[in-house]
Structure formats: structure tokens, C-alpha cells
């Protein structure tokens, strides 16, 4: 099974920038976490995102041509901040990996992947 760990964070919470106190510790904690995924052999992909203010959304509908909109697709208190895709035998294992994420506050949505393309681009169920 593959699960996406979808990381949500409140962007109004200040984060230390490069050179500021706490920056090295924060980066180090994330690096250590990602390394632990490598070592367990469960890492598939992952990354952090630029703030939601950089998002552009394309809205498609049956009635009209696609519309380009400034901003993320949902205005919520917490915004999508990053993600991991990991392999895990079952939900309990995936939840354990998600719980270890080195974020003090925020939330992680854990969702199983349904399909993944093979080399020809055809969707295959993720088992």
C-alpha cells in the first residue's frame, strides 16, 4: 500500500528563516525524519510547497472554458504545506510514520493512493 501524508499548517505561524535562531534545528529535524524514511525503505516521494499565496487554481466546469483564479482551491485556516508519499503495510504503520513528522503544530491527512501509472501511463491500482 502507498499512502500520501498531506501536511497542513497555519501559515500565519512564524517560522525561522535561514540564519535565524532555530532554523538549523528545524531543518535538521526534517532531514532526520526524511532520512529515517530512506532507511526504512518506505520513501517514495515528498516535498514542501511555497506558501499558498503563490498558488494559482484552474477551475474547470462543463458550462464554461477553464478559468484561472488567484489562490489555493480552499481558503482554510490550515493550508497544504507539503507532502510525503510512503509505502506501508497498513493504516497503522502509515499513521505511525505520520505521527513522527517533526512539526510541533498542524495536521497531517493520511490517505491511501488509489492508482499509479505504469510505464505506459495506464493507471494501475496501488496494492
Amino acid at each position: 500500500m502507498e499512502y500520501m501524508l498531506i501536511i497542513g499548517a497555519d501559515e500565519s505561524m512564524p517560522l525561522p528563516g535561514p540564519g535565524e535562531p532555530g532554523f538549523e534545528e528545524t531543518m535538521g529535524a526534517w532531514a532526520a525524519y526524511t532520512r529515517s524514511l530512506f532507511e526504512k525503505g518506505v520513501f517514495i516521494s515528498g516535498g514542501s510547497l511555497q506558501p499558498s499565496a503563490t498558488a494559482t487554481t484552474i477551475r474547470k466546469s462543463l458550462q464554461s472554458p477553464p478559468v484561472i483564479v488567484d489562490g489555493p482551491f480552499a481558503e482554510t485556516k490550515e493550508q497544504l504545506a507539503g507532502f510525503y508519499v510512503v509505502t506501508a503495510a497498513n493504516l497503522d504503520e502509515a499513521l505511525a510514520l505520520a505521527t513522527e513528522l517533526p512539526m510541533p503544530v498542524g495536521s497531517v491527512e493520511v490517505r491511501p493512493l488509489a492508482m499509479r501509472p505504469d510505464e505506459t501511463g495506464s493507471p494501475r491500482p496501488v496494492l
Partner: protein
């Protein structure tokens, strides 16, 4: 049986459908040919065969799909037959099923529904009736839960650290028990007795988790409370306070059972919040009259409960017990220190009653009037009207 089949085929939904098939077939076959010599064995065999049939049909349709679309040739995982489960593992399988139904990834209503449906064996109609929820809503909830269990692969495993999972299980069982005490009107006679279901399920959990004192605590608590269920409401539907209940109508057999459970658990320790509540209920259940209650001991147990599981409601109960032990002023002082219960009618009831006993009738009436504004049910409002009239 469901737990065994779920483990054997690694598929809860398949197991559940097959047991339903077997039960339907039992009704037809048994009424025509009589009941077989070993009914559970008969049901298991039929359910097992039905599951194999369903898998064969699923495999056949998968092959048809594979013929048209090349990618679906692999057999679904977890559906291979495993050797038959040894008898000694049956308890484990039941525990797995119980923990699965109460998995924290399922919402509370779903946990309650699945526990009653899959562990308790109630029908969808019975659960819907017990909670006064439309049957399609409940059926939908079960379908959604099964889909999530399969798609997100919630495992049928017993985690190494049981603590948190047992806590959820106990919360679910307590909710089922409490539901039977919520007067929701409706056609009472048609409703399944949820208190009895909760006791049955808690008793099974105790067998499966023999080292968890809190399971014993909850079981004893439920037995004590159920023992006095006949006296909680009078013939006119009015609530009867504990001190006014006719103790000769309490169910001594249930009290004896509860006493045995509490004694064993308390002797072994540790003593957690449910066991403390059971010990408190035990003091009431075993006192021949209300006046015989050992209030200093009850007050002490509440103090221990308050430090084990702090909550303003427990603090209020402790204040009432202290008032019984040391007089109304001591109780009132503790009530005045409670934060966060200003909108809780029982706080104002307790204050009113203690002020009345402390010979402050006008302050008592003010407190009871505040309680009246907050009282949730007509029975409670009538009771407060009577008390205010008596004091004014």
C-alpha cells in the same frame, strides 16, 4: 464466527456477507429439515463455503476484466486461504475484531455502530431502532466504514501498546451503556436493551483482556448501575433520587456479580478511573439504606478519581460527597471553587440543596431557579418546581 472468517479470508466485508448468507440459509434449511446436531459448526461451514463461492465469482469477474484490460491480472492480495485457525486463537480473533471496530481512524458513531453490528451481532434494524436513527442512514454508515477499512487497509491486528486502543474500546462500550439511560421517548418496548448489550460486550472484552483492570472497572460499574435500573424512575415517569430509591428492588444478583469483579480487580491493582467509579457505585449498591452510606469513604474515592481523571463534574460529585460527610458548608466551599460549570444545571441543584440544608432558604431558591432555567428535561423541571415551592 465472524472474527474467525474475517481472519481466515483477510476480508471483513466478505466475512460479514457470508455470515448473513449462512443465517438466511439456516432459516430456510432448519425450518424444513430441523436443527442440525451442531448448529455453530453448520453455520461456520456454510458461511465458509459461501465466502469461497464469492471469492470464486470475484476471481472469475477479475479474469473477465483482465481479458479486456491487461493490467488487472494480479490476484487481489490477502485473499489466499490460510490454514484453519487453532481453537486457542479464537479469543485473539475476537479481540482483533473488537479493536478494529473501535479503531481511532473511524468516527465515534461508526465505532459504536460497527461494535454492535459486528461484535454484538445486532441487525441494522435493531441498532437503528435503539438509536432512533433511520435504518438507511445506519446501513449507509456501515457501508462507508467497510469501504474505508478496505481501501485504507485498517489492519486486524493487536497493537503492542494496547493502552490507547483499550481506552477507545471502553469509551465506546460506555457510550452504548449510557445510551440506554437517555430517555428518548419512542417505542421503548421495541428497543433492544442497550445496557444489557453493553454489559455482554464488556464482559466479553474482560475475557479477552484479562489483565486490564479498567475493563473490569467498567463492567462492574455497568452492573451496579443496571442493578438499580428498576428504581430510577417511578410509575409516573418521575426521576427518583438515589437516596429515595426502594433498595429492596435492586437486583442483588447483579450487585453480587459486580462485587466479585471489583474485589478481584482492586486486589490486583492498579486502580484506574473506571475502577474508582465502580468502587464508588459499590458503596451505594452495598449500603442497606441511604443513611448507611460510608460518605467519608465515598468522598475519599472521589478525591482519588479527581486526581486520576480531573474534571469539573467529578469535582462537583466530590463536593456533594464531602457535604454528606462533613456538612453542607464544607461542600459549598468546594462547589465555589469549581470552574467551568456555570451552565451545568446539576451544579445549581447541588448548591441549592446544600444552601437549604445550611438554613439559607432564599439563597437556595435563587440557586434552584437558576437550575430550573438550565434543566434539560420536563421531569427534571417538575422536580425543581416542587423543591422551589417547598422552600419558598
Amino acid at each position: 464466527m465472524l472474527a474467525l472468517l474475517a481472519a481466515r479470508f483477510g476480508d471483513l466485508d466478505l466475512a460479514d456477507e457470508s455470515v448473513q448468507d449462512a443465517l438466511v440459509q439456516a432459516v430456510e434449511t432448519w425450518s424444513a429439515n430441523g436443527i442440525p446436531a451442531n448448529p455453530p459448526g453448520w453455520l461456520y461451514t456454510v458461511a465458509h463455503n459461501r465466502a469461497v463461492d464469492r471469492l470464486r465469482r470475484a476471481a472469475a469477474s477479475a479474469r473477465r476484466l483482465a481479458a479486456s484490460a491487461h493490467e488487472l491480472t494480479r490476484e487481489p492480495e490477502g485473499r489466499q486461504e490460510v490454514p484453519i485457525v487453532e481453537h486457542t486463537e479464537v479469543g485473539d480473533e475476537q479481540l482483533r475484531l473488537m479493536l478494529l471496530c473501535c479503531h481511532p481512524a473511524l468516527d465515534r458513531d461508526t465505532q459504536v455502530t460497527l461494535t454492535l453490528r459486528l461484535v454484538g451481532g445486532l441487525t441494522t434494524a435493531e441498532i437503528a431502532g435503539a438509536f432512533l436513527v433511520p435504518e438507511p442512514t445506519l446501513a449507509q454508515r456501515i457501508v462507508r466504514a467497510k469501504r474505508k477499512i478496505r481501501a485504507a487497509r485498517i489492519p486486524l491486528t493487536i497493537p503492542a501498546d494496547l493502552g490507547e486502543r483499550v481506552e477507545v474500546l471502553l469509551t465506546v462500550l460506555l457510550l452504548i451503556f449510557n445510551e440506554s439511560y437517555l430517555s428518548r421517548g419512542g417505542t421503548q418496548t421495541l428497543r433492544v436493551d442497550l445496557a444489557e448489550q453493553a454489559i455482554r460486550l464488556t464482559d466479553r472484552a474482560r475475557t479477552l483482556l484479562p489483565d486490564e483492570g479498567e475493563v473490569e472497572g467498567l463492567l462492574a460499574l455497568e452492573l451496579y448501575l443496571h442493578a438499580r435500573s428498576a428504581t430510577r424512575v417511578d410509575a409516573g415517569g418521575e426521576l427518583v433520587l438515589l437516596r429515595d430509591q426502594d433498595r429492596s428492588l435492586w437486583d442483588l444478583e447483579l450487585i453480587r456479580r459486580a462485587n466479585a469483579v471489583v474485589r478481584r480487580a482492586a486486589a490486583r491493582g492498579p486502580i484506574g478511573p473506571f475502577l474508582l467509579q465502580a468502587l464508588i457505585a459499590s458503596q451505594h449498591a452495598n449500603a442497606p439504606t441511604a443513611a448507611d452510606t460510608d460518605w467519608p469513604l465515598v468522598a475519599d474515592l472521589y478525591a482519588r478519581l479527581l486526581s486520576a481523571a480531573p474534571s469539573p463534574v467529578v469535582a462537583l460529585n466530590r463536593a456533594v460527597a464531602v457535604a454528606e460527610a462533613d456538612g453542607p458548608r464544607a461542600g459549598l466551599a468546594l462547589i465555589d471553587d469549581i470552574d467551568g460549570l456555570d451552565d451545568y444545571y446539576l451544579l445549581h441543584v447541588a448548591r441549592g440543596e446544600l444552601l437549604a440544608r445550611a438554613h439559607e432558604p432564599s439563597a437556595a431558591v435563587t440557586a434552584l431557579r437558576r437550575a430550573l432555567e438550565l434543566a434539560p428535561s420536563p421531569a427534571e423541571q417538575r422536580h425543581l418546581h416542587r423543591r422551589i415551592a417547598a422552600l419558598a
